[in-house]
């Protein structure tokens, strides 16, 4: 009996070598567990930043363990810590259309210097209400959100150039430029796609829309910048070059080839700087969080610079690409551009060198709305034949290999860039979307692992009713063959992801905010500075929190309908000692206040009564004692304003105005 499982195991390992497995157990070989085991107290090797899709957030996992480390609120409200609810952060979600408290977050890109991760910022796109966010990697906090005008479906975003000169935003849904009211079926005449280039300040990370390139109405799907020799170029995949505005499932799948749009962004930059662009009135919101004052500064911008390829020769070219390409990925050398035609039965690989000589030699097959279309064969390095069904995305290991996800045939295929031969294939469970190799879209991939972010979960975990967590799968790519190591459930619906070695971020992770540098206008610098101030119907409560009491913790003289602002300063200066703050019947959220921070919750009591408030984040042995009361009296009554912690009734009384 003892030998039996061993035999079974050996048999299954052989089976895996010999044919494509669709069976879960047979796909995992013996040492997988030890390769993902991170002992208690030990740290993971990589930070894995994973887009949240329809939850609008970004989650952070450790690799290889697949453990969830944090969820960073970006485009969606987060009642858990008050992001988007607190007075300090609510304007982060402001747009030109008002407050938009949710979005669909698809892609992430870590900032780069010389084509390698520099560990400074993480950029995130919002697909639904077009926006791009910047997250600081010392605090893991969203610092800036800029809205993209003249755009719908900001999908081919937020991919960046090699020195983070620009973050791009390309429209999946073409829309009319400006504000003209036009019929939907005038798509061909009036709808445009735009590729926006957002400049990033080298020192502060501050974003600014530098220019928008106006392109014919079509769907810009994904994009990646060139590298090394192709540094000056950006490549966007397109579909719906049929320009359908209804039943795209059929009508946008008519042509055998769509395009890869090749944009010379250096040239575009020159045109923009030399005044070749037209100024177009366009309203968009720009929200910047200030770490010192802990407030969001929201500014409405009113204009963009639009570059029309008609006025800007040699700026944009089209490369035909079969069929409805999705991923548009550039290999680490910058020479090869992979278009993954999701309805094609092959993978075309384009050569940057060939593209350049085709442009020099004007080897065009025609034009698309005036933009030269390079002959397919003239730009083609070659095709990967019969790779699988439904190629979507490609990542690279830096050793000359590419890994492409296949949605329809549910597998990852490893192939050689040079000779375009398939080397290995491994099933995914099920229907993989994006892939991620750590550093896999930079000049220097770290390799080692590959994560498949699957779209369909089915039977992978214990069932949880109709809605299931999306599954991610970790593979080792160290050997010739891919080895499935681990399944782990994820938060939201991950699309693209990034990973960076832990040692590039961990040492600079911020532990506390220095309270002596707290410039929030409502800070209480110590309990002595706490107070309650009435101004008409507005009441400002300057409160402090420290293990384990709130000051003031007794407040009287508040009336129904008052706008009460609790400005809570956490006086702690120790790592991992946040305090929470919640008040009964508050109609919004709680606050989580990090050490040294001041955060504000607005509360409008609608009924007379006693309102307990308390710390929600277990902070000490006396956490359960960290509570207080606010007395709310009927409007028109004459209860004087009174507040304090542990003071005799007569003390610290101020008259109500």
């Amino acid at each position: 009996m003892k030998k039996f499982p061993l035999v079974l195991f050996a048999a299954s390992a052989v089976a895996m070598q010999s044919c494509k497995m669709k069976d879960t157990e047979s796909a995992v070989s013996g040492d997988a567990a030890s390769k993902v085991y991170v002992a208690p107290g030990k740290h993971d090797e990589f930070y894995n930043f994973v887009s949240g899709g329809f939850n609008g957030q970004v989650s952070v996992y450790g690799l290889p363990s697949g453990r969830l480390l944090k969820v960073i609120p970006v485009f969606s409200l987060n009642p858990e810590n008050g992001y988007g609810y607190s007075e300090e952060t609510k304007d982060m979600l402001k747009t030109s259309a008002g407050y938009v408290p949710w979005d669909d977050q698809h892609h992430l890109e870590l900032s780069q210097t010389n084509g390698e991760h520099d560990g400074r910022w993480l950029f995130a796109n919002a697909n639904n209400t077009p926006r791009v966010a910047r997250i600081d990697l010392t605090t893991f906090k969203t610092m800036e959100i800029i809205e993209i005008p003249n755009s719908g479906g900001n999908h081919s975003s937020p991919f960046i150039t090699e020195n983070t000169e620009y973050v791009v935003a390309g429209t999946r849904f073409s829309v009319p430029m400006g504000t003209e009211d036009v019929p939907i079926n005038s798509f061909k005449q009036n709808f445009k796609s735009t590729a926006s280039f957002i400049s990033v300040d080298k020192n502060t990370g501050g974003m600014k829309i530098a220019f928008q390139i106006m392109l014919p109405g079509m769907n810009l799907d994904l994009s990646h910048s060139g590298k090394g020799p192709s540094h000056d170029w950006f490549f966007f995949s397109t579909y719906n070059t049929e320009q359908a505005n209804t039943l795209l499932e059929v009508n946008a799948s008519q042509k055998d080839k769509d395009f890869i749009v090749a944009v010379n962004w250096k040239k575009a930059e020159e045109y923009a700087n030399s005044g070749k662009g037209k100024k177009l009135p366009s309203q968009y919101m720009h929200n910047v969080y200030n770490e010192e004052t802990q407030n969001t500064n929201s500014v409405i911008e009113n204009e963009t610079i639009v570059l029309d390829p008609k006025d800007c020769p040699d700026m944009v070219y089209m490369i035909p690409c079969p069929k409805s390409p999705h991923g548009c990925d550039v290999d680490p050398t910058g020479e090869y551009i992979v278009g993954s035609g999701k309805l094609a039965a092959l993978i075309p690989v384009f050569s940057f060198t060939k593209l350049q000589s085709a442009i020099q030699g004007k080897k065009f097959e025609g034009d698309y709305y005036g933009i030269p279309v390079v002959k397919y064969e003239e730009a083609l390095h070659g095709e990967v034949q019969k790779p699988g069904l439904g190629p979507l995305h490609t990542e690279f290991d830096g050793k000359g290999n590419a890994y492409t996800s296949f949605f329809i045939s549910s597998e990852v295929v490893k192939w050689s860039i040079k000779d375009l031969k398939v080397i290995d294939r491994s099933p995914t469970f099920y229907s993989v979307g994006h892939l991620m190799v750590p550093g896999g879209d930079t000049r220097k991939p770290y390799g080692k692992y590959l994560v498949a972010y699957n779209k369909i979960t089915k039977d992978r975990y214990l069932p949880t009713g109709p809605e299931l967590a999306q599954s991610a799968q970790l593979y080792s790519i160290e050997g010739d063959k891919m080895q499935l190591l681990l399944d782990f459930p994820t938060f939201g619906e991950p699309h693209y992801a990034q990973a960076i070695p832990a040692e590039k971020l961990a040492p600079k992770s911020v532990k506390i905010y220095d309270i002596m540098k707290n410039k929030n206008p409502y800070v209480s610098m110590g309990e002595k500075a706490t107070k309650v101030v009435r101004n008409g119907n507005r009441v400002d409560v300057y409160m402090t929190a420290i293990r384990s009491h709130l000051t003031p913790d007794n407040i009287e003289g508040i009336y129904v309908g008052d706008e009460v602002y609790f400005h809570v300063t956490n006086l702690e200066q120790d790592w991992d000692v946040p305090h929470g703050f919640a008040v009964k019947n508050a109609a919004n959220a709680e606050l989580l206040i990090m050490p040294g921070e001041t955060t504000t919750l607005k509360f409008v009591p609608t009924k007379q009564g006693i309102y307990p408030f308390y710390c929600t984040d277990f902070c000490s042995a006396l956490h359960q004692e960290m509570q207080g009361y606010m007395r709310v009296s009927p409007r028109g009554s004459n209860v004087p304003l009174k507040f304090g912690t542990n003071v005799a009734d007569s003390a610290k009384v101020t008259a109500s105005k």
């Binding site: 309270i515 110590g526 000051t551 000692v577 000490s620």
Partner: protein, 160 residues
């Protein structure tokens, strides 16, 4: 309890800590701090009176340094006053009146800058923890902040 017993308890505490501490780092710390058991008990007690940390010899000035004392008061207001009164009344932590008589200058500065290690190893700090039942938060004081605080405590105790 005489001094010998205190030292004995302190040593036992650190030995048992070393034996259950998991990481090498912690072990390194503990092996450095306690003096060998065979050393003269009086010397060990003197060490102990200074607590655990980098401050081994603090020079006091007479009269007190008014500038430092006033800087210390500012730090006190923001980082200490929530829990410590200036009288001898205990709030969350003990009142500060008389603290400079109860503790050595080194012990005070070590405790306010190296709080966690002191709470883990120092017998006096642990005895206070049993009274207060709240671990004193590490308030991230700089060395100068700690010196300023000490001067403010001396002022509060009427020292000159």
């Amino acid at each position: 309890m005489n001094i010998k017993t205190i030292v004995f308890i302190a040593l036992t505490a650190s030995v048992s800590f070393a034996s259950c501490g998991g990481s090498n780092e912690e072990k390194k710390d503990t092996t450095q701090t306690p003096p060998p058991a065979a050393a003269a008990p009086a010397a060990a007690a003197a060490e102990d009176a200074k607590g655990h940390g980098k401050f081994t010899n603090v020079e006091l000035t007479h009269p007190i340094d008014a500038k430092m004392a006033s800087a210390g008061e500012k730090v006190y207001d923001v980082k200490c006053a929530s829990c410590h009164k200036l009288s001898d009344e205990k709030m969350v932590g003990p009142g500060w009146k008389g603290v400079t008589d109860r503790r050595s200058p080194e012990w005070i500065m070590n405790f306010v800058t190296n709080t966690d290690e002191m709470l883990d190893k120092d017998a006096e700090a642990q005895a206070m923890l049993e009274v207060c039942m709240v671990r004193m938060p590490n308030q991230n004081l700089s060395d100068q902040d700690a010196r300023d605080i000490l001067e403010f405590m001396r002022k509060n105790d009427g020292k000159n």
